[in-house]
C-alpha cells in the first residue's frame, strides 16, 4: 500500500495510453496539486508532456490552438469542469483529446461531452481514481483546511470521494469501523459503505484478508496538533508551513530569489527522504556532512588545469549543479528553523509542553507555565506559544479542582496578547469537551507512571516524550483489543472479527499531523506483517488547527 506509487502509476498510464507525440496536459486547480505532489515539471516533460494548462484559466487565447498536439485532460468530475470541457470540445484547439476523470463520473455528464464532440476529437474517456493528495507513501490528505463548518454542504461529499478514490487506487474493499462518539465519523462511514455497495463491480477485488478502514475524529486528540515538533518534516510544517510540498521562505531576511519558495519532496530529494523523520540535532549533523561533501566537490572543481580536469568538470557539472541547489535549500531551511528556535525560546516552551502532556503534576506544571508566561522573564515568547501552553494546561487540568486557567488568562492579557487568540482557549476546550471527559481516568494515571519510569532509564528524549492517541488505538488494534462498542463496524455480514487485518487505512476527520505520520511510519517498520496508511481531511500544524477549531466552534454554537 503506497499512495505515491498508486498516483504515479495512474499518471504513467495516462501519459502512455495516448501513444507517442507532443502532449499538453489540461487540469483544474485540484488535479494540478494531485499531479504536482508526485512529479516535478521536468519529470513530466520527460514523459512528452511539454505544456500544462488550467482549464479554468486558459480561455483567454481561444483561437490559438495547436492541432498537432495531443491533449490529455485530467479533471475532477464537477459540473463546472464538464461545462468548460464541453465548450472546449465544441471548438477544439488540439488534435486529439484523452479525457481522464479523477473519480466516478455520472453517465449523464459523459453523454453531454459526447454530444459536444462534433468533430470526433475524443479518443479516450476513463476514470483514474486519484482524487487525493499523496504526501508520502503512507500519508495522504484531501486538502480541506476546515471541514466541519461546511460538512453537510461540501466536505462530507468531498471526503467520501477522496476515500473512495484511495480505496480504488489501492484496490481495497474494506470493513469499515468508526469512532462511535463522533456523528461525522458515522455519517462518513455510512456514505462510503453505500457507495462501495452501489459500485460493487468496481470493488470486486480478490482479497484473501479484508482490509480495514478506521475512521476517527480529530476531537479525540486535540493535543497532538498543538505541540512543537522536533523531527524535520513536522518541524518545517509547524514553523514554516508546508503547502503541497512547497515551503514559502520569501519572508526570510535576505533570501535570494531562487529560494523564495522551495520544494520539499521525498520523491525527488534524497537528502530530505533520508532525514525526514530525524530529529533536529541529527539533521544539523547531516547538513554539516552534506556541506562538507559539497565543499570537497567544489574544491575539486576549482583546479581546472589540465584537459582531463576540464573533461571531468564538464562530465560532473550537471550533478554538481543539482547538488549545490540541494545544499543551498536545506541549509537555508535548517538555518531558518534554528534561528526561530533561539529567537522564540522554543526549547523551553517545548520542554514544558511535553511535561504537561506526558506527566501529571499539577502544581509544578502550573508553576512552569506561570514562569514562562511572566513578561519580565520572557519577552521573546511568541503569542501563539503562550496561548498554546495555556490550552495544553487547560486540556489536562480543566477538571482538576485547583486549576488556575483564569489566572493564566490574566497573565496572557498582561502580555497584550490579542483577544481572538485568548478566545481560542475556551474554543479548544469546547471543541474536545465531548471526548476528553472520559479519557481522564485511572488507566491514564498508570500509563503516565510507566512513562515516567521510562524517563528514568534515559531512553526518552525530553522533547519527544509525547505519543499521539492514534499510537494507543493502533496498538490495541494489533493486539485485537480494540473495543467493539467504541469503534463499531458497519458491515455486519462478515464474521472475521478476530482476524488481524493486514492492511489498515486510518482516516481522521479534522486533519492529521506529521507527528502521527511518523507514528504510522514506525508501525509499518515495526510490524512488517501489517501495512498502515494514514489520511486526513488536511495536514495540520498548530496554527491551522486553531483556525479549524475556531471555525468549528463558531458554527456549532
Amino acid at each position: 500500500m503506497n499512495v505515491i506509487g498508486a498516483v504515479k502509476a495512474y499518471i504513467t498510464k495516462m501519459v502512455e495510453e495516448s501513444e507517442p507525440g507532443m502532449k499538453i496536459l489540461v487540469m483544474d486547480k485540484e488535479t494540478t496539486s494531485v499531479v504536482s505532489m508526485v512529479f516535478s515539471q521536468s519529470e513530466i516533460q520527460q514523459k512528452e508532456v511539454f505544456l500544462l494548462e488550467r482549464i479554468d484559466l486558459g480561455s483567454k487565447n481561444f483561437n490559438s490552438g495547436l492541432r498537432y498536439l495531443k491533449c490529455l485532460v485530467f479533471l475532477r468530475p464537477t459540473q463546472q469542469n464538464i461545462d468548460l470541457l464541453s465548450k472546449e470540445l465544441r471548438n477544439p484547439r488540439y488534435g486529439a483529446y484523452y479525457i481522464y476523470f479523477s473519480n466516478i463520473v455520472a453517465k449523464a455528464d459523459v453523454k453531454v461531452l459526447a454530444e459536444n464532440d462534433e468533430q470526433e476529437v475524443v479518443k479516450e474517456v476513463r476514470e483514474l481514481y486519484m482524487d487525493y493528495l499523496a504526501v508520502n507513501p503512507h500519508l495522504f490528505s484531501l486538502g480541506l483546511p476546515t471541514c466541519m463548518s461546511n460538512w453537510k454542504s461540501y466536505s462530507l461529499q468531498r471526503t467520501v470521494q477522496g476515500l473512495i478514490a484511495v480505496l480504488l487506487s489501492l484496490k481495497k474493499c474494506p470493513i469499515i469501523r468508526f469512532q462511535k462518539r463522533s456523528r461525522e465519523c458515522h455519517e462518513l462511514a455510512q456514505r462510503v459503505e453505500e457507495l462501495v455497495n452501489k459500485e460493487s463491480t468496481l470493488f470486486a477485488f480478490s482479497q484473501s484478508n479484508q482490509p480495514l478502514l478506521l475512521i476517527l475524529d480529530r476531537r479525540c486528540d486535540p493535543v497532538t496538533p498543538l505541540l512543537n515538533q522536533w523531527t524535520y518534516q513536522a518541524m518545517v510544517h509547524e514553523l514554516l508551513t508546508i503547502n503541497n510540498n512547497r515551503v514559502n521562505l520569501s519572508k526570510v531576511k535576505g533570501i535570494s530569489k531562487d529560494l523564495a519558495e522551495v520544494v520539499l519532496s521525498a520523491e525527488q530529494d534524497p537528502f530530505y527522504a533520508k532525514n525526514i523523520f530525524l530529529n533536529f540535532g541529527e539533521i544539523g549533523q547531516n547538513i554539516k556532512e552534506l556541506m562538507e561533501h559539497f565543499q570537497s566537490k567544489a574544491k575539486s572543481h576549482q583546479k581546472v588545469e589540465s584537459i582531463a580536469d576540464m573533461k571531468a568538470f564538464v562530465e560532473t557539472y550537471p550533478q554538481f549543479k543539482k547538488l549545490s541547489g540541494n545544499v543551498a535549500k536545506h541549509v537555508t531551511v535548517v538555518g531558518e528553523l534554528s534561528s526561530m528556535l533561539s529567537e522564540y525560546e522554543l526549547l523551553d516552551v517545548s520542554e514544558v509542553e511535553q511535561e504537561i502532556t506526558s506527566q501529571t503534576d499539577h502544581s509544578s506544571h502550573l508553576q512552569s507555565v506561570r514562569k514562562l508566561l511572566n513578561v519580565a522573564n520572557n519577552k521573546k515568547l511568541r503569542d501563539i506559544d503562550a496561548v498554546k501552553l495555556v490550552i495544553l494546561y487547560g486540556l489536562k487540568y480543566q477538571s482538576h479542582s485547583n486549576n488556575d486557567i483564569v489566572g493564566l488568562k490574566k497573565l496572557l492579557m498582561k502580555r497584550n496578547i490579542p483577544e481572538h487568540l485568548i478566545a481560542s482557549i475556551p474554543s479548544v476546550l469546547k471543541y474536545s469537551s465531548h471526548y476528553t471527559q472520559q479519557n481522564d481516568n485511572v488507566v491514564d494515571a498508570v500509563k503516565i507512571t510507566k512513562r515516567f519510569f521510562k524517563g528514568l532509564n534515559g531512553v526518552d528524549n525530553v522533547y519527544t516524550q509525547h505519543k499521539p492517541v492514534i499510537h494507543e488505538i493502533l496498538e490495541d488494534l494489533l493486539k485485537g483489543r480494540i473495543k467493539e462498542d467504541v469503534y463499531p463496524r458497519l458491515n455486519n455480514l462478515s464474521n472475521q472479527l478476530n482476524n488481524r487485518p493486514q492492511d489498515v487505512i486510518v482516516f481522521m476527520i479534522g486533519g492529521v499531523t506529521y507527528e502521527e505520520s511518523l507514528t504510522i511510519h514506525a508501525f509499518n517498520k515495526n510490524y512488517p506483517g501489517t501495512n498502515f496508511v494514514l489520511g486526513g481531511t488536511t495536514i495540520h500544524n498548530s496554527k491551522s488547527f486553531l483556525e479549524e477549531v475556531n471555525d468549528t466552534v463558531r458554527i456549532k454554537l
Binding site: 520527460q46 490559438s64 514506525a522
Partner: protein
Amino acid sequence: MAEWSPESQIQEGFLCPVCYKDLRSPGNLLSHFVELHSEEQDLLKSIKDLVGKAKKKILKLDENELESFKTEMSLQKIGIEYSEPQAPGQTRSMTEYFRNVRRERLDHRTSETNRLIIRLDKLLRIDGPDRKLREQELVVWLDGSTVSRCPSCTASFNITRRQHHCRLCGSIMCNSCSYFLPYEIAKTIVAPVYSDTNKANAIASKAEGDTLRLCAHCMNMLDSRNQAQMLQVNQPVICQLYMRLQKIKNDLQPSLELYDKMYNSMMSGEQTFRLQDVQSLRSSIAQQAEILDAISKRIISVPLNPEQPKAILLQNSIRRATTQYIKEYLLVLPILPSAEELYRIRQERLTRNVSTSTHPTVSAVKKIAVTTGWSPDNLSIENVIPEISDEDPLMQQIAIVRNYIKQARSANRFEEVASLEENLEFLKKAYREQQLAFKNDKVAV
C-alpha cells in the same frame, strides 16, 4: 493521607508522608526523607521497600514495552524510500459509452456534410454568364420577401443592408454575416470527388480570387472537415523534427543499457568486452547526444505564427526537456578506465580467481549460444575427418565468424562481438588440434 491535608484536597505525585512536600521523583523523595526525617527509621524502611517494590513491578511490566520502544526509536531513523513503480489501481473506461452516444449524433452531421460537398462539387462546375441563375437551379434560394431581419445578427434589411443567399443551402443573411469560400480552397475540399471523376480541368478556367458566399453554419461544417483533412496531409516542421528527436531517443535506450552492462562487466575485471569497443559505443552515444542537441536547437528556431503564443512555450519546453535528457541520461555515463587501469583491474580479478575456481574457461565456452544460430556443440572435434583444402568446414566457419564479428562491431552490437569472439577462439583451437591430429596421422602412416 487525604484527611490530613490542610486544604483537605487530593494531592498527587511523590509526596513525603511526613510533610506532604511534592518531591517529583522517587530519588528525591528518598534523599529528602533521609536528610530531614531520618529519626523515623521504620517509616524510611517502609518507603524504601515500597518504592523498590513498585519500581520492580513497573519496570518488569515495562521491559517488553521498553524493548519495542527502543527498536521503534531506532527504526524511526529510517527515512522514506523511493516509491518503486507499481501497477496502476482500478480504472474504468467510459470510451465505449461515449462513442455510442457520439455516433448517434454524428451520423446526422456526417450525412449533412456529405450533401454539402456534393452540392459544392456541382456548384464549382457551373461557369459562364448565367452562373447565378444556374446556381439557383441547383440550390433553391429561400424566398426573401417575408424575411425582414438577418437571422444571425437580427439587423433589419434595407437599401444599404441587402439580403444575401448562402450558395450551399439557400438561406438568407446580411453581408457582414456572410463567409466567403475561395474557389481554390473549395477545390481542395472536393478534390477527392474530382479525382474520382477525372474532370479536374473542367474548372481550371475559373478566374482566381473568385469566392462562394456561404452562411456561418455551412462554412463551419466545411471548415472542420477541411481541417481534419489538412491534419492528415500537412505536418508542420516542428512535428517532423520532433519525430526525429524521439526516434533517436528511442534508439539510444538499448545503447545506454548496453553501455551500463559493458561498463560494469569491465570494472569487475571480466574479459567479455574489449576496451575499444566500449569506447566506440561511448563516442557513438556522444554523437547522438550532439544530434539531439542540434535538433532541439532547430525546433526552437522554427519560425512561428504570431497568433500562437503557445507554440513558443512548446518549443522552449521541448528544448529544455531535451537538454535535461542529455544532462541526466547521456552526460552522466561513467568514465572508462584507461588501458593501464583496466589491466590492473583484470590482474586483480585473475589473482582472485586463481584461488577460487579451477577451470573457468571450458564451461564458459559451452554456454554460448549465438543469435546467428551457430553453436560450438555442432562441431565435435573427434568426428571431423581431416582434410586440407579450401573447403575445410572449420576454415569456412572461421571466415564466417570473422565476418560476423566485423558486421556486429560496425552495428555496435558488442554483446554479440564478445560471444562471437569466444567462438572464434574455440574454432581456432579446434582447427589447431585438427591440424595436429592430421600431422600425427601422417607420421603414423
